[in-house]
Point group: C2
Chain length 239, copies 2
Amino acid sequence: MLESLFLNLGQHDSLSDDEQSLLGNLMTGERSFAAGQDIVASGSRPAYSTLILDGLAARYKVLADGGRQFTSLQIPGDFVDLYAFLLKTMDHGVIALSPCRVILADHSKLRSITERAPHLTRLLWLDTLIDGAIHREWIVAMGRRSKVSHLAHLFCELFVRLQVVKRTNGMSFHLPVSQAELADVLGLSVVHMNRVISALRNSGVIAWANHTVTILDWQKLQQIAEFDPTYLSMTREPR
Amino acid sequence: MLESLFLNLGQHDSLSDDEQSLLGNLMTGERSFAAGQDIVASGSRPAYSTLILDGLAARYKVLADGGRQFTSLQIPGDFVDLYAFLLKTMDHGVIALSPCRVILADHSKLRSITERAPHLTRLLWLDTLIDGAIHREWIVAMGRRSKVSHLAHLFCELFVRLQVVKRTNGMSFHLPVSQAELADVLGLSVVHMNRVISALRNSGVIAWANHTVTILDWQKLQQIAEFDPTYLSMTREPR
DNA sequence: ACAGTGCGCTAACATTTGATAACTCGGCGC
DNA sequence: GCGCCGAGTTATCAAATGTTAGCGCACTGT
């Protein structure tokens, strides 16, 4: 059941059997959320962190004028709020974009991992660092890439991340979001988001229908995106 | 000499004398960089992490068309590349925006801290988590705030962070960057950056001359920025 | 079968942002 | 003193992006 988590953490360094069973002991209390529901509320002080088993979720903030911005997309094997273990207070919310099945990690147990299992601690720390690396890549995309390139980059990132946890199907993956939700990822109006999607479609590198994205030309997509996966730290080495 | 680091880490939870001396033992090898020099090169695999003692630095990425985007600003007491300890390969560069004095932390020593000092490990982890929280706030600012609000938010953030490490002077702080560099923070053209700065100046909430920013109306500045410092985790509690 | 609804899509127009160029001003070397 | 140069500023025009509105289609409940 923790397959995705093992695939995710295990891609960076090997996970011992002991560590796998520590993780198995850590994660308890499965829950489900419907699309549109808050998984974690902004301002809350959760006593546990949440791992996605199935579904798509996103971190977000809402501004006074009602504008919403997603700050990350979370897939199976991702902790959506591991940092709440030390940050204590959530400064943003996490919403389920599709039906989500999750499992929880008590902060008290996480704490004891930091006391007793240094290597596993480093792997969990690393997981939050990659989160940060993705954030930086998003900042670059928002600030200096063309919108088409930004969208292409997002698709590259999602494809590669989904591949790690075996949620791709050939060159396709499921992306259960509306264009309005995607607009809240890129920081665009819905109308302009539609224009950008059309442009990328017309360039012939992707198809997107029925909530399924198909990459028609992976080379060219990466080229448009200037995609360099270094920031995802997908090499296996001692950490 | 590690005053800023102690102030920075100590704002979140108390640092024991033992922990302070562990940190003192950790940080060795002072170096200086001139404005414009790379402190850490993109693509490198440093064997140590870098702490700013004095000066202003920034993380950045450069795109194929020459466009540059800063992803963070780093002030005294900040680790600019603590995550390189686990991420291994730098996926971006760090540049000195003003003359910088730094001190280094060998990754081997950092590793031994994770083996022997769980509480200090959590505080260092926390430091990187706040980095991530700041990234998320930047994403929101880039995507959904007006440019004037974005700039106001940046000034709020810098002021509060600089206050923690005692680098403010009343309601003023030193900001040794050109408008072109600031444009690479907000992701704007230089010309438009200038317009945005003019607008914020004309609203009467800040003055900016000789590389010194003075906040004339702190309440109104926070209001324009919709600034909520929760994401900086500035409360002292057990971590 | 029917109307209601959410979503994708497009048109027309307004506003924001970028590109290019020119002008000012102060510092600095000669 | 003179001229160069970098930084800030402004003007003008072009391109990107937002706003408002409306259409069509698939899906849903009745």
